[in-house]
């Protein structure tokens, strides 16, 4: 059974989230304080974290950063009462994979959680290469010269999406659909921030990327598979 950790200081909302998620067969752990969240996370090892930004004790962005220190894998979805660019970008930069602005539709939340839990590249047999990186779909790992590079699940998904169709130029909207499961969204901040985070981990020089290339005015594409040092 999928276990979800909900970190929110509003008891009623947390309980309501519990009711909704239980209704679709997910198990819920409720945490109301930021400073307790990391400890509980380490003990319970949930499959996904729903994290409110405004929290008593440690704030959500800090909690997000702490959780990322312990686990690069676990998907984190922020719940925010603000749609201001500033807060959202800060959360994404701290390691969150996606965000939902309150108030949200419960069905949308469930869909979003399911997308994040889905395993990327399930439709591919064998392994992929992009640049000088080897992607192991089964093991869910990325390595360069035999040395594994730790990526979050979302970063892995993003890389796989690009590597699956080398040469194809993905618009930001296409990536939002492919990786985040948005049928219709133009919030390109999600893509921009994650591409940047991904580049910081996989590129030799994040300022002059060779693996994930920007196509000005359109979007991104995978760099030629001919590995460049």
């Amino acid at each position: 059974m999928t276990s979800i950790m909900v970190v929110d200081d509003d008891q009623d909302l947390a309980e309501m989230l519990g009711i909704v998620l239980n209704g679709v067969g997910m198990e819920v752990d409720l945490v109301s304080r930021g400073d307790e969240a990391v400890e509980i996370f380490r003990n319970s090892q949930p499959d996904l974290v729903l994290l409110d930004i405004m929290l008593p004790g440690t704030d959500g962005i800090e909690v997000c950063r702490e959780i990322r220190k312990h686990s690069t894998r676990v998907p984190i979805v922020m719940l925010t009462a603000k749609s201001d660019t500033h807060d959202i970008v800060k959360g994404l930069e701290a390691g969150a994979d996606d965000y939902m602005v309150k108030p949200f539709k419960p069905s949308e939340l469930v869909a979003r959680i399911r997308t994040r839990l889905r395993r990327a590249g399930g439709d591919i047999n064998g392994n992929l290469t992009i640049g000088d990186l080897a992607i192991d779909i089964v093991e869910h790992t990325v390595s360069r010269g035999g040395k594994e590079i730790p990526l979050t699940r979302l970063e892995f998904d993003l890389l796989v999406a690009l590597a699956k169709e080398p040469g194809r130029v993905f618009t930001r909207e296409a990536l939002l659909g492919e990786v985040w499961g948005y049928r219709h969204s133009t919030d390109t901040r999600l893509v921009n921030v994650h591409i940047q985070r991904l580049r910081a981990k996989i590129e030799h020089d994040a300022e002059n990327p060779t693996i994930v290339l920007t196509v000005r005015g359109v979007g991104y594409k995978a760099g030629g598979s001919g590995a460049r040092p």
């Binding site: 909302l13 309501m16 009462a81 660019t85 108030p103 005015g217």
Partner: protein
């Protein structure tokens, strides 16, 4: 020339300096020429009067000698005449005096030549006007004229003449001439020193003017520079204040003004921060309970099949009203963000043609339900613009919703056009229309054309107002045209590149078919 003129116009220093130069040159010219005139006139007059009295004495003396000599019956005047002419000659070395003697009858009498002059003075040099006068009146007279010599030398001077009576020889015209050479050289010297003094004075005046100007203008320049950087937003800039003079007072007053200004601005900034803070707090405080309500109502709603019909209907109303409330809250927050000027563009290079086309596709179903259709025109090419896609999409969705709502089941045309600086999207319906007097009011918050039709649709009444703000935030605008019963046309225009102003609007809001 043009550049020189504009430089002149912009430089206070140059203006004041050249004014001072102009005025001092005029002043010194007039004073100088006045002084020069008076002095030279005085010198000449003095010389004339002394010449007349000397001349008179010389003539009297000559007359006296001729008379004495005449007492001797057998006199030969040759020596005396020679002496009279030459004696004049001796002193003439010093005083510049010449003597001429003419026989009035024009013949040589008793040893006196009919014409004799000293120092090769040309006899014709004696002005004929003077000679005629003397011959007529036989009295002493004088006239200024030029002393012309045989060797061609010409010196200005004065001629004094009289008829003298020589015993047994008859009447002779005698002329004594004095040249003004010494006076002229004095006058020239004075003239030269006046010129020199004038130049020196002008130079001194200009030097003083430029020193004073520098003293005064420097602080003004500094003040202007500081004022410019204040205008540019550097509120910390102040003038350096030295001493206690007027310039220092200007500096103090200026600095006080800057401080007051900075305080006012920081107060306003503070107010705006408080406002933004309030909005964000309200947002958080309202949204969290609303999320809970929303989820609860969703759970209730999904279980409504098992309820009693009235409760089931209540669950439906509850959910739809919560949805409306959500939209309203969202729009209100957006509006407050604009008011607090907290709205910022999150720019990306996007293909706006695709963006609009996709919005239209999303609305195809809704349009069909309303019995209308969306017709796209001019969407073949991609048009890349720097824009906040979230906001542009919101504007387009809003305009399409609006057009579909008021279309009266007639089709809606969506046009796109571009030029080098801007792109326009026009959304044209052929439905209810808007009377001209309301064109500008459609963007007012909560404004409704017809209060009776008010809440048939779910719109919050803020949509067009937000759309307009979004367009303006991009440096663009939304223009509207409409006519009752004919339809309406809303045209969104945004610049292609941020900060590059729109040179012309690619698509007019006034349809070509209208009027």
């Amino acid at each position: 020339m043009q550049r020189l003129f504009s430089f002149f116009r912009r430089s206070l220093f140059l203006k004041v300096f050249s004014l001072a130069a102009f005025l001092s040159i005029i002043l010194i010219y007039f004073v100088g020429s006045n002084v020069y005139g008076r002095i030279s006139d005085g010198i000449v007059e003095e010389k004339i009067s002394s010449s007349i009295s000397q001349g008179r004495a010389a003539i009297q003396y000559a007359e006296y000698r001729f008379t004495i000599a005449g007492l001797n019956r057998n006199v030969d005047y040759t020596v005396i005449a020679d002496e009279v002419v030459k004696s004049a000659n001796i002193s003439a070395e010093e005083s510049g005096r010449e003597v001429a003697l003419f026989n009035a009858a024009g013949k040589k009498v008793a040893g006196i030549p009919s014409v004799s002059t000293s120092n090769f003075l040309k006899p014709e040099a004696i002005p004929s006007a003077l000679r005629e006068k003397i011959v007529a009146s036989e009295e002493l007279d004088w006239l200024p004229g030029n002393l012309e010599y045989v060797n061609g030398k010409v010196i200005p001077g004065i001629f004094i003449g009289k008829i003298i009576e020589i015993p047994r020889a008859g009447k002779y015209e005698m002329y004594v001439a004095y040249d003004f050479a010494a006076q002229q050289s004095n006058i020239d010297l004075i003239g030269r020193s006046l010129w020199g003094t004038g130049f020196l004075l002008i130079a001194l005046i200009l030097l003083t003017a430029s020193i004073v100007l520098r003293l005064v203008i420097k602080p003004v320049q500094v003040a202007a520079e500081v004022a410019e950087s204040l205008t540019a937003g550097d509120l910390q800039r102040r003038m350096a204040v030295k001493g206690e003079d007027e310039i220092a007072r200007l500096g103090l007053a200026f600095n006080q003004m800057a401080t007051t200004l900075a305080n006012q601005i920081s107060k306003l900034e503070n107010l705006s921060r408080v406002q933004q803070r309030f909005v964000s707090d309200v947002s958080h405080e309202l949204r969290t309970p609303l999320t809970t309500i929303r989820m609860a109502s969703d759970v209730i709603h999904s279980a409504r099949a098992s309820f009693d019909p009235t409760i089931a209907r209540s669950a439906e109303l509850l959910l739809s009203q919560i949805e409306k409330f959500e939209l309203l809250l969202q729009d209100l927050l957006e509006v407050s963000r604009f008011d607090a000027e907290a709205a910022v563009l999150s720019l990306d290079r996007v293909d706006i043609a695709t963006l609009v086309r996709r919005c239209a596709e999303d609305f195809a179903l809704l349009a069909e339900e309303k019995g209308t259709s969306l017709r796209l025109h001019g969407f073949e090419l991609e048009i890349l613009v720097d824009a906040d896609p979230r906001r542009i999409e919101r504007v387009i969705r809003n305009l399409i919703t609006n057009a579909v709502d008021h279309s009266e089941s007639r089709p809606v045309d969506i046009n796109i056009a571009e030029n080098e600086s801007a792109v326009s999207i026009g959304i044209r319906d052929y439905g209810v229309g808007i009377a001209k007097q309301y064109w500008s009011r459609v963007f007012d918050r909560f404004w409704r054309a017809d209060p009776s039709r008010s809440r048939i649709r779910g719109g919050t009444g803020l949509g067009l107002s937000i759309a307009k703000e979004d367009a303006v935030l991009h440096g663009g605008d939304i223009r509207v045209w409409g006519e009752l019963g004919v339809g309406a046309n809303f045209v969104l225009t945004i610049p292609k590149r941020v900060g590059v102003p729109i040179s012309s609007i690619p698509l007019s809001e006034i349809p070509t078919t209208a009027e």
